[in-house]
């Protein structure tokens, strides 16, 4: 059987489980006594083990198995949750991430599993060196099926025994190479149901159907059949490795139950565990109904969505073309039809765009662990507060936004927050706080990274900027605070006196700024000395379709994104003045430098006629410029197209689009044009 078809599912689910383990470990760190969390982690590790063993990823299975052993000790109160233990568990998760990634890509992982395993064993003490004996395990699990018996089942058992049925406990072990475990289990059940009745199974029938079991399952079964023939007929089913069959009596079952209760009342701890197990069962059944609801969604390969988007953009282009033709013909019915089509296609556009939206949670998920490790490395106490993780963004933006955010968060912990001693001295809480907040506003999504650290030191920034030659000493005094903060984004700037391991990676905030601007977004920084710093990122909801103003330069058509445009005006040539060799215009009391696109883009034709020049006033932050063009064409929805890797960096051009006539028009990058 070809495993590749399951690989996608494996990738998805293993990532889900890793994230779950991670989240629960972080939560466990905060409340080490919460055994529920240990159960959750155990469950995820267990599922991972099962999945990876099925996929043949031995190392992953090994490691998760060892994790299970340790976690089992924790939940049996043989081991306390300590910081070193958590550290080891985090290391395990890291190793698992690497192993799974490597397994998916089909190469060897750069991880020494044995080392991680021995660290695990060390953390767990000597007891874990040997694996728990099989008897031990079977006792544990047989408790499982016994415990699962409820009052009703017991009554049924009692009655059937009176009616002369035999009562059995069956433990069925499937062959380790068995691929369709659920199918085999089903065959066993069908056989059993022919001759009697299955009172109870462990795991539950539903879990077995969903293959949520390892290799064994247990049932309590009543039948008129004798033990030996029963065992033989079960063993006849293919891929059954072992069948353990014990006759039971109702009294025995009762005794097991009483024993359980007796023990429970003696040992408070275990009592807690059983109730927790019940809670867990409830939680998992809740999760199942959740899954049932979730069956209304389907997984779609992202490539298909991209293709859909591509095809749709072809439609948008044709729509534009049809619109042109209809207007030229001035045919009433055609015009109406085109208008109707336009409306439908804009609905369709909205729909497709929302399909590509994913919650920013995907990116946020990895931050708690990162913050933890960065904080430990720097010896700082940091609390990360995240909100708005459900805010949705286009997938393309999500893919790109991770690195800049990682950088800003590291920056906040490294440079923003003071050391613990400094904080205490300043009368602040010893634990620093980094807030990560995402929210929606208009056509944009905002992500804020806020720390309650020392704030930006204006003098220090200026001193550094002068040293780096970014500003002249004479200019420095006249800079506004905002100007000073923006210096942080200048290339080659770093205020850290000692280059730390974390932030001194040769990438400065300028890289962050460039990345975000390339996504059509903006970064702003605000700071209050002694109170903290806030970085605010503004991102467009989607990158795929934008509204743009089409202009002609010579006989070439260019598109200017509407988001950069303040206004399009006609200017009389006599109004243009020259200041320091730069042609400028008085625009509402401000000096507006003029840029001739003809010369920026080396357009040969010279057809400047008349005295009126069309000028598009564009902005970048609070700076403005006027782009001189030959003709204004009106605005249109355009589909952003990349120019491919070959032409990735062209001065003044951010991308291309396809117009109604099928020709390519270039999109102007106003940010590059404004100095």
């Amino acid at each position: 059987m070809d495993m590749n078809q399951y690989l996608d599912v494996f990738i998805d689910e293993s990532n889900q489980h890793l994230t779950a383990i991670n989240d629960h470990l972080l939560a466990l760190e905060k409340e080490p006594d919460n055994l529920n969390l240990v159960h959750e982690i155990f469950r995820s590790a267990h599922t991972l083990k099962g999945m990876s063993a099925t996929m043949g990823f031995e190392e992953v299975a090994d490691l998760t198995h060892q994790m299970e052993n340790v976690l089992d000790q924790v939940r049996n109160h043989q081991l306390a949750v300590t910081v070193p233990l958590l550290d080891v568990l985090f290391t395990c998760v890291d190793a698992l991430e690497k192993l799974i990634e490597a397994a998916i890509e089909g190469h060897e992982a750069d991880v020494d599993v044995n080392q991680v395993i021995s660290a695990l064993n060390q953390a767990a003490g000597k007891e874990t060196a040997g694996e728990p004996s099989p008897e031990n395990q079977s006792e544990l699990t047989s408790n499982g099926v016994m415990q699962a018996l409820d009052e009703y089942a017991l009554t049924v058992i009692a009655q059937s025994q009176e009616a002369g049925f035999n009562l059995y406990y069956l433990k069925v072990t499937l062959d380790s190479n068995c691929l369709l475990k659920a199918a085999r289990a089903y065959m066993v059940f069908r056989l059993l149901e022919e001759e009697g009745e299955v009172i109870q199974s462990y795991p539950s029938v539903q879990e077995i159907e969903e293959e949520q079991f390892d290799r064994t399952f247990e049932v309590i079964y009543i039948s008129r059949q004798e033990a030996e023939p029963l065992k033989e007929s079960v063993l006849k089913i293919a891929e059954i490795e072992q069948v353990e069959l014990q006759p039971l009596s109702y009294d025995e079952l009762k005794r097991v139950e009483k024993n359980d209760e007796g023990r429970a009342s003696q040992q408070k701890g275990e009592k807690r565990e059983t109730t927790q197990q019940k809670e867990q069962q409830q939680a998992s059944s809740g999760g199942r109904t959740g899954m049932q609801r979730a069956t209304k969604t389907i997984r779609v390969n992202i490539d298909r969505l991209d293709k859909l988007m591509n095809l749709f953009s072809e439609l948008v282009i044709d729509r534009g073309r049809l619109d042109q033709i209809a207007r030229a013909l001035n045919h009433q019915e055609l015009l109406e039809t085109v208008e109707h089509m336009s409306r439908i296609s804009s609905d369709l556009q909205d729909l497709i765009l929302t399909m590509r939206m994913v919650p920013v949670e995907q990116v946020f998920n990895r931050f708690p662990k990162m913050v933890r490790s960065v904080a430990r490395e720097l010896g700082k106490e940091v609390e990360l507060v995240m909100s708005g993780a459900e805010t949705e963004l286009d997938r393309t933006v999500i893919d790109e936004i991770g690195d800049p955010l990682v950088h800003l968060i590291r920056n906040a912990i490294d440079h923003g927050l003071e050391t613990t001693e400094e904080r205490v001295k300043a009368g602040k809480a010893a634990q620093g706080r980094v807030e990560l907040k995402a929210y929606h506003s208009g056509n944009h999504v905002f992500i804020e990274i806020k720390d309650d650290g020392r704030g930006i030191n204006r003098d220090k920034v200026i001193a550094k900027a002068i040293e780096r030659g970014l500003v002249g000493e004479d200019q420095a005094a006249s800079l506004t605070d905002q100007d000073v903060y923006n210096l942080l984004f200048a290339s080659g700037f770093s205020t850290a006196n000692n280059v730390s391991d974390l932030s001194g990676r040769g990438v400065g905030l300028d890289v962050v700024k460039n990345k975000i601007e390339s996504l059509g977004g903006q970064v702003n920084v605000d700071s209050e000395p002694g109170q903290g710093t806030t970085f605010s990122i503004q991102l467009p909801l989607t990158l795929s379709i934008i509204t743009a103003l089409l202009v002609k330069v010579g006989d070439e058509t260019y598109a200017i994104p509407l988001t950069s445009i303040i206004e399009a005006i006609l200017v009389d040539k006599s109004e243009i003045r020259t200041v320091h060799g730069q042609k400028v215009l008085d625009f509402r009391g401000r000096v507006l430098p003029l840029i001739w696109l003809k010369s920026v883009f080396h357009v040969d034709q010279d057809n400047e006629e008349g005295n009126l020049l069309p000028v598009v006033v564009v902005r970048k932050g609070d700076k403005m410029a006027g782009l001189v063009v030959d003709q204004l064409f009106g605005q249109q929805d355009i589909v952003l197209k990349s120019m491919g890797r070959y032409l990735s960096q062209i001065f003044g051009i951010s991308g291309a689009t396809i117009l109604g006539d099928g020709k390519v028009a270039l999109i102007i990058d106003c940010n590059a044009l404004i100095k």
Partner: protein, 151 residues
């Protein structure tokens, strides 16, 4: 045996490995892209995908000629880079025995030697094998744009 697409540049016949070729197109309307190396003629709309096209003659440092009706665009893909190459004509596809391929001689026509992977003799025709990876290397694109702010 290797399949090669044969094409014409001026008076000479060139060929390239068919594995690189995605399609061969008639001339499509080209949108000029400013501030790039002169051999980049611009971009085309190739069934919804914006694709750069380069004038192969200029790229190989051959003299520039008027692009005629017969000209074709060979769309090649290598290293995740997709580019259209403008050639004078794309004639046919040939099977070439790999052991017939010889290293490029010192002087082959006019094309700069660095873009040539070898030559092959095929029934009295001398075919020059194009080194597609070299032709598509982006180093040659480093072209200082003359910033056109009106000073």
């Amino acid at each position: 045996m290797k399949k090669m697409v044969v094409f014409q540049l001026g008076a000479e016949e060139y060929c390239l490995d068919v594995d690189y070729v995605k399609s061969i197109e008639r001339l499509l309307p080209i949108t000029r892209v400013p501030n790039v190396a002169p051999f980049v003629k611009g971009v085309i709309n190739l069934r919804g995908v914006v694709t750069p096209v380069i004038d192969l003659k200029l790229r190989l440092e051959l003299p520039e000629e008027e692009i005629t009706e017969q000209a074709r665009m060979i769309i090649v893909e290598a290293d995740d880079v997709e580019v259209g190459l403008i050639v004078d004509a794309a004639n046919d596809v040939l099977d070439v025995d790999e052991k017939d391929i010889e290293p490029p001689p010192e002087v082959v026509g006019h094309a700069s030697k660095e873009y040539i992977a070898g030559v092959v003799q095929h029934e009295k025709r001398l075919l020059i094998i194009l080194d597609v990876l070299k032709v598509l290397s982006r180093e040659a694109l480093d072209y200082e744009p003359a910033v056109g702010m009106e000073q």
